[in-house]
Point group: C2
Chain length 406, copies 2
């Protein structure tokens, strides 16, 4: 008996008509004999409406915000279960806590700790379709903990792992994963299949796909994830284990303007200095990406790195304090930067890719500020205003002019 988890995001359950459409999408799988569990988000703008009310009260207590937000998905699960029954399928709804999704950590950014989906398994074995509230879990104290941005996808993938599902379907308002953002690159192609690793890099580097947390969890348990639209019948994208080969497939060209660059100048070159500095940033909850250290003159280093723009103020505060403490020469920052990335299988083994990429920038007269590369990516930090132009040229070079990838 095949098992699957089907997840529907907020736009896919935005009103009663959409909720009935969700039921219509689930029914054929049940009729074919699949054991199906459904995971849903809050309806459309529900979460925004709840946050607006909390805002009117000037509320910042995260436990209460979690308690409030959790009602959004709870409404959807009941309505979806009703719609399934109306469509002739037995169904039962579960909040995150009722479904046995346990989390730990801070409110509004809970991290899944354990899943005990016994009730769901019983239902599925009896032919019922459990409908589970995404985004929410129980803390060890019985409080509601929400899972942060992309939390509903994570709930779905985590349940698929715990239920040993054969497939996890994520239905959303985009038709799948593309070689570039179709709003920028007209010739962007939908990908039929990508590996977990590539998908994770894409998520981190700015593509509108699954959150990296969800992909990582799917990868860890090897659950194939399908990403597709709940609005059309177009075939979407499978995220799954890669075929074994060494060919070069450039899957995607992305850019990301949500980062800012910080440079610390003239840092004394002593052991432990970098560890101390990035330790302080981590303690302040600031995620740092693309650290580049260059030995410049004698016993001094310059250290540059990227942070989320949201974290910039705090990051500069921490950095300035550190500069004073260790006697570095200064700090500067730049918010008008973007990272532009080429992502694909085999890039690390194809040394021709980096120089080809740099030539594209050179032809456009775009200055490259920072460079980093991994087995699957090459990323350049450039002036923000020219990022889209670069994406188009790189997509032409690596996707349109190359052999079609899967």
């Amino acid at each position: 008996m095949k098992r699957m988890v089907m997840k529907f995001g907020g736009t896919s359950v935005a009103d009663i008509g959409r909720i009935q459409a969700v039921a219509e999408r689930v029914v054929p799988f049940v009729r074919k004999g699949y054991q199906v569990a459904v995971v849903v988000s809050a309806m459309g703008k529900t979460t925004d409406g709840l946050l607006f009310m909390a805002g009117q009260l000037g509320a910042s207590d995260r436990r209460e915000i979690d308690q409030l937000l959790a009602t959004g998905e709870q409404q959807t699960i009941a309505l979806v279960a009703m719609a399934l029954r109306a469509a002739g399928i037995s169904s039962r709804s579960y909040t995150g806590p009722q479904a046995g999704i346990l989390a730990e950590g801070y409110h509004m950014e809970g991290r899944i700790r354990r899943l005990q989906p016994f009730l769901l398994e019983e239902d599925m074995e009896e032919g019922l379709v459990p409908v589970v509230a995404g985004f929410q879990a129980a803390s060890s104290k019985g409080d509601v903990l929400t899972l942060g941005r992309g939390g509903s996808d994570l709930s779905a993938v985590a349940l698929a792992c715990a239920l040993e599902a054969d497939e996890c379907h994520i239905y959303t308002d985009v038709e799948g994963v593309f070689t570039a953002d179709p709003r920028i690159v007209q010739k962007a192609r939908k990908l039929r299949k990508i590996s977990y690793e590539v998908c994770m890099e894409m998520a981190v580097l700015g593509a509108r796909v699954l959150q990296a947390r969800s992909v990582e969890m799917a990868s860890r348990y090897g659950v194939p994830v399908y990403v597709g639209s709940s609005f059309t019948e177009e075939e979407g994208t499978w995220v799954m284990r890669d075929n074994v080969n060494e060919k070069l497939y450039v899957h995607s060209v992305t850019h990301d303007r949500s980062v800012a660059k910080i440079a610390v100048l003239g840092v004394p070159d002593k052991p432990g200095i970098a560890a101390g500095f990035f330790g302080l940033l981590a303690e302040s909850g600031i995620a740092v990406e693309m650290i580049i250290q260059s030995v410049m003159r004698g016993d001094m280093n310059d250290i540059a790195f990227l942070v989320r723009k949201d974290d910039l103020g705090e990051a500069i505060r921490v950095t300035t304090k550190y500069v004073e403490k260790v006697g570095a020469q200064g700090v500067n920052f730049d918010t008008e930067v973007a990272r532009v990335s080429v992502i694909g299988a085999g890039i690390g083994n194809h040394p021709e890719v980096p120089p080809q990429m740099f030539s594209v920038f050179a032809e456009l007269g775009i200055n490259i500020d920072m460079i980093s590369s991994t087995a699957l990516t090459i990323t350049c930090v450039v002036e923000a205003g020219r990022a889209e132009e670069a994406v188009k040229a790189l997509h032409r070079k690596f996707v349109e002019e190359a052999a079609p990838c899967e």
Copy 2:
């Protein structure tokens, strides 16, 4: 340290402004050193909106309706907790299940089975104000069970009992309990104090006061209940143990048009016949009131009784089947009836009250169809169209012309 439970109904939390007003009403009690727990209903028309969506799906699954409805109160608790914090009072919200309110029975009509409000007690002892969702409880399976009509009042009173509170305040959109419906009787007076027993009779006989279930629970544990408006500063009504005396106080004249009369004609007068018949009605979940049996001719009885109009169709079905089975002569029913009641302490010991009441009807030329009396009430069933007229005359006779009661 005095302890109290304060409950606010739907109109009292209808929007953010009203929720802030709730906080303002709670704060002074906390400042005075009271340990306060707050119980709230869903905001204004939230429940209706949720039921409308369920209706669009043609949903009748009561478990899912409970799951859906429970989100209404859950939103209010979070917002009220936020408003209390904004007003400088530490607070924490609890759904019914989180608060340790356990129930059994059918969905949408759960009955409280046990309370385990340990977390609330901890909070109160630490000076926090727990805010609890009324109307909802956990089943032994961890499902949400709602408690039926008036369920939020019941949650509040039950918590007051379990927390051994000194007072339970029920805030609503009426200013207290009146000697008659002020919309009908201009001279209706607000009562300062009534006994549990009288309040229970009033609830059953059509006054707009607390549900009988809540009053019964308060009575059982002796918790004084205050009923007042959250919109004004007018003093409301206390429902509490009576002073010991035998004076006659007529507290209220009520009428109730929500009932219908059924008469079974020519029932063979054999032992067990009535038991069998009312047993059948009870099995169908039909509550029966005011049973009157009259021996008419030889070995035949007529039996008349009242049912809720909602139950009439089912009651006639059951009755007709029974009439055929035992060979009775027929069934008739009347929906155009009302019961009119005089309710007060000492009525049973003051034999002048029934004849005085009957004379009022006689003077108005109103025919009395059925009569029943208890220690605290005399009720007559009359033609529905003349009930209000009778209420006015009885109020004049027993309340306005009598010595003022408390």
